[in-house]
Subunit: 227 residues, 2 copies
């Protein structure tokens, strides 16, 4: 499905350079379930943003579905994203002026889906993450875990082939977290590729491949059979 | 130190009422270490905001240090807060235009502490949460866990008597989380009152009292000796 070769992401800060990613080589097959772990600041979000076409490498190659992503224009990149990638942000990125229902619905408009179909699908996803009773609340009228679940529902409403989740259960109690992980398992069972960044070691049980990052590099990578 | 009697917090939404807190009775002694758990949406942040004088009950009484908080003016409330309470928000609430160092320093200015003393103390707290190498970054140039640690450092820089932490380690790997919990234990050892909202059951080991909320009410409350 995708591969990275020598991928780097640097930030210049005055006279120094922050090497958020410092040489990543990776192969991802369609339908795999990955867990990415590592210390705070080790590069997990940076890697996920690159995989999700939200950012570009400063060096190296990223090929997705046979296309060299670094060669694409911003418009083409945005098109790839909205069509095949569902991204759950570590900081949610909900639109404050829209209700829960409207926030979930937004990605469908980009795909030319309109009411009543878009509204029906948004409500279906809201039900799946337990938010039916909050459809008309705005993000500031929700608890932290409820906001996180809106972000999850929105990422899934387009039925994306690839789901990238950046610590998507960090604000959830374990019962609710298990419900979300069951949704991820379901999606995986439907053939989707799942990549979860998580600090919770227990979540790696659901994954086939577990990668640990340290200082912008891959420290270890194991397949569950060996785990 | 504090007690709550019949505390309620309601929100009117059109024709319905959301009962975020629905009758809380609670006694908190100085120097205790509490853990608050419960499902997403059960009222934890709402309770913490009330305890931290960031919000007022719609009904009931909250007495802190012998003072009926509901009787205080906004100014007086704000004064109580900045002097004795350190609050770590679930969504961090950092100031985007300020650097890490400046963000940590802000509460000191309200207490009339100025550079070089304020700068020295901000750097001391930054070191304690492992952010010495990020002092001049702005929040958008930090990882999620680094932002969370700035929020922690800022809450502690005033040496508050009461520390209220709303899921303050949800974005941290377990090694970093343990470092933060060691800081909390240290503060508790100095006689401070600690109240942690957490989804991580393992964290309740550090607490003397563990409360579980459900639907805005206290479902259970146990003291560690019985645990
Ligand atoms: N401004 C508001 N208007 C209406 N309802 C609100 C508002 N703020 C919070 N709520 C509701 O109050 C309830 C309690 O919210 P609270 O933030 O205390 O939950 P929580 O236990 O902290 O959840 P989480 O674990 O997800 O952070 C939630 O159901 C939420 O939807
Ligand atoms: N715009 C930026 N400018 C400078 N440095 C940055 C910028 N964005 C991120 N960084 C740095 O890049 C490193 C990796 O960040 P990243 O967000 O990928 O970490 P992470 O593994 O997701 O951490 P966490 O677990 O805390 O979320 C961090 O040390 C961070 O300070
Ligand atoms: Mg991150
Ligand atoms: Mg909360």
């Amino acid at each position: 499905l995708a591969y990275l070769r020598g991928v780097c992401r640097h930030y210049r800060m005055g006279n120094s350079v922050v090497r958020a990613l410092d040489g990543i080589d990776l192969d991802i097959e369609t339908g795999e379930y990955w867990a990415i772990q590592g210390r705070s600041g080790s590069g997990k979000s940076t890697l996920l943003n690159l995989l999700g076409c939200l950012d570009r490498p400063t060096a190296g190659t990223y090929v997705l579905d046979g296309v060299d992503v670094s060669a694409l224009s911003d418009d083409a990149l945005s098109h790839v994203r909205s069509r095949s990638i569902g991204f759950i942000f570590q900081s949610f990125n909900l639109i404050p002026q829209l209700t829960v229902e409207e926030n979930i619905e937004v990605p469908l408009f980009y795909q030319g889906v309109a009411p009543p179909e878009s509204r029906r699908r948004a409500r279906e996803l809201a039900a799946r993450v337990g938010l039916t009773e909050r459809l008309h609340h705005r993000p500031t009228e929700l608890s932290g875990g409820q906001q996180q679940r809106v972000a999850i529902a929105r990422a899934l409403v387009n039925d994306p082939a690839i789901v990238l989740a950046d610590e998507a259960t960090g604000n959830l109690d374990s019962a609710t977290e298990n419900e979300i992980l069951a949704v991820m398992d379901q999606l995986h069972g439907m053939g989707k590729t799942i990549i979860l960044v998580t600090h919770n070691a227990a979540l790696t049980r659901h994954a086939e491949k577990v990668m640990v990052l340290a200082d912008g590099r891959i420290e270890s990578l194991r397949t569950r059979a060996e785990a």
